[in-house]
């Protein structure tokens, strides 16, 4: 009798811990997504010497560690934008669904590759099946300002249909590079 009571409590503990984890993630998502700090506020934070940073819960890193981490991540991002010539000018995401095995986020992204600019909206679905995490893009919508080129609009609608975000970026890079080369060549002859 006692053993089965123990089991009931233990099951409830496990289920409550999972729910707490989920709620914490939901809370953090909404906090992250509804907050915005300007560049000045961020600079001030970087310059700050707050010696006793008391986070809301334990396990927070020290201020110097956070600064170093931010610096390293920004260096990586800056390198990638330079290397790929893909500059993202704005990015917003909103978590629309979060359950134990499934997360759906809505993304809005704009940027340019050389002189070609684009605006994207898509939904990112992440599913956890045992150890494997699978990532799928749905509802992709692409806006590009190269209306003059019929091939571009055909290509854009095809990638939209198939949700092929990867193909979009791979082709964007090569097309933009070609376009840039052509543009420079024309300028040269002016």
């Amino acid at each position: 009798m006692d053993n089965s009571m123990c089991q009931v409590y233990e099951d409830e503990i496990q289920s409550l811990e999972e729910e707490i984890k989920l709620l914490t993630e939901q809370y953090e998502d909404i906090q992250q997504e509804s907050t915005f700090y300007s560049e000045e506020e961020i600079l001030m934070a970087i310059k700050s010497f707050q010696s006793d940073f008391q986070g809301e819960s334990k396990g927070h890193e020290s201020l110097p560690d956070l600064k170093a981490q931010l610096e390293s991540l920004e260096a990586d991002l800056s390198f990638l934008m330079k290397f790929t010539s893909i500059q993202f000018t704005s990015h917003s995401k909103k978590t629309v669904e979060r359950t134990r095995n499934r997360t759906v986020q809505k993304h809005r992204l704009s940027g340019n590759c050389y002189s070609l600019s684009f605006q994207l909206e898509f939904q990112l679905l992440e599913m956890q099946d045992k150890e494997k995490v699978s990532t799928v893009i749905t509802d992709l919508s692409v806006v590009m300002e190269s209306g003059e080129d019929v091939n571009v609009s055909k290509f854009v609608s095809r990638t939209e249909e198939r949700g092929d975000l990867l193909a979009f970026f791979r082709s964007l890079s090569s097309y933009a590079e070609w376009f840039e080369h052509r543009r420079r060549t024309f300028l040269h002859f002016k």
Binding site: A45, L63, F79
Partner: protein, 276 residues
């Protein structure tokens, strides 16, 4: 005699004491668990209330700013870090992402098939004195050395682009074969045979026609390693068949060369349903 009797009493007392101890431990454990459940329920209710409040505070408009005046420097930095990480994740979706290392760069090449992301591969490059591959997770049947020899020294971007073409095509071919086996296993006869590069596929499948099923055999060759559609598709029926089925075999061959494998099966199944 007395001695044995005393021994027995001692054993009984010992046993009784043990049982009592066990019962006490069990009760303590139960009490601990009960307390824990209560703590967690309270914690969960508090969190739920917090989340509900958050959701009420959000208007329909995006980008509603929450009160940021009391944020500590650490909270601001943590927020910014999460944003930059989010941006880096987007780069993964573009196909090429990376991280600077002490000796160079570690690139990550993602593969996908029409919106479903598949495996990603890393390439750890050294940049001094010249660009070299330090470590990588590219499978051995991808001609990495060949591609590196041709492009790595002169044009790293081109190198990554060509490598990405190979990897994505391979991942696409594998994905199609996996999808075929997963969704059309009842139509396949025996196992699908293929090489490591998935550019040679051989399989047998059943074609239903007028109540009977006919055994077909297909052999797909993908000569272009950067393409996920076959350059040759040989389809034949393994027994002697009427002419109409020979036409079907030719039609399937044509379909396989232009349409993804699993979609081809979808399409000739639905076509069959319409005819039948």
């Amino acid at each position: 005699g007395v001695f044995t009797y005393l021994e027995m009493l001692e054993a009984q007392a010992h046993e009784a004491g043990r049982k009592q101890e066990e019962k006490k431990q069990q009760e303590e454990k139960l009490a601990r668990l009960k307390k824990r459940v209560k703590e967690l329920r309270t914690q969960k209710d508090k969190l739920q209330a917090k989340v509900d409040l958050q959701q009420k505070g959000q208007t329909g408009r995006e980008g509603t700013v929450s009160d940021t005046t009391d944020a500590s420097a650490g909270a601001v930095l943590e927020w910014k870090i999460r944003r930059v990480k989010g941006m880096l994740q987007v780069f993964c979706l573009t196909g090429i992402s990376g991280k600077l290392t002490k000796q160079g760069v570690c690139f990550s090449i993602s593969t996908a098939y029409e919106g479903t992301y598949l495996d990603s591969y890393y390439l750890d490059l050294l940049t001094r004195p010249e660009v070299r591959i330090h470590h990588h997770s590219v499978p051995i049947f991808i001609p990495l050395e060949q591609i590196a020899k041709r492009y790595l020294q002169t044009d790293i971007r081109r190198f990554l682009s060509v490598l990405s073409d190979h990897l994505n095509a391979y991942a696409g071919r594998k994905y199609q074969a996996d999808q075929l086996q997963e969704h059309f296993s009842d139509q396949l006869e025996g196992t699908l045979q293929r090489n490591s590069l998935y550019n040679l596929l051989v399989f047998n499948y059943k074609v239903p026609r007028e109540g009977k099923t006919f055994p077909f055999s297909a052999r797909l060759i993908y000569r272009d390693l950067c393409c996920s559609l076959p350059t040759e598709a040989m389809v034949s029926c393994t027994v002697k068949v009427p002419e109409s089925l020979e036409e079907t075999a030719a039609a399937h061959s044509e379909l396989f060369r232009h349409v993804a494998l699993h979609k081809a099966f979808c399409s000739f199944n639905s076509a069959e349903e319409k005819v039948a």
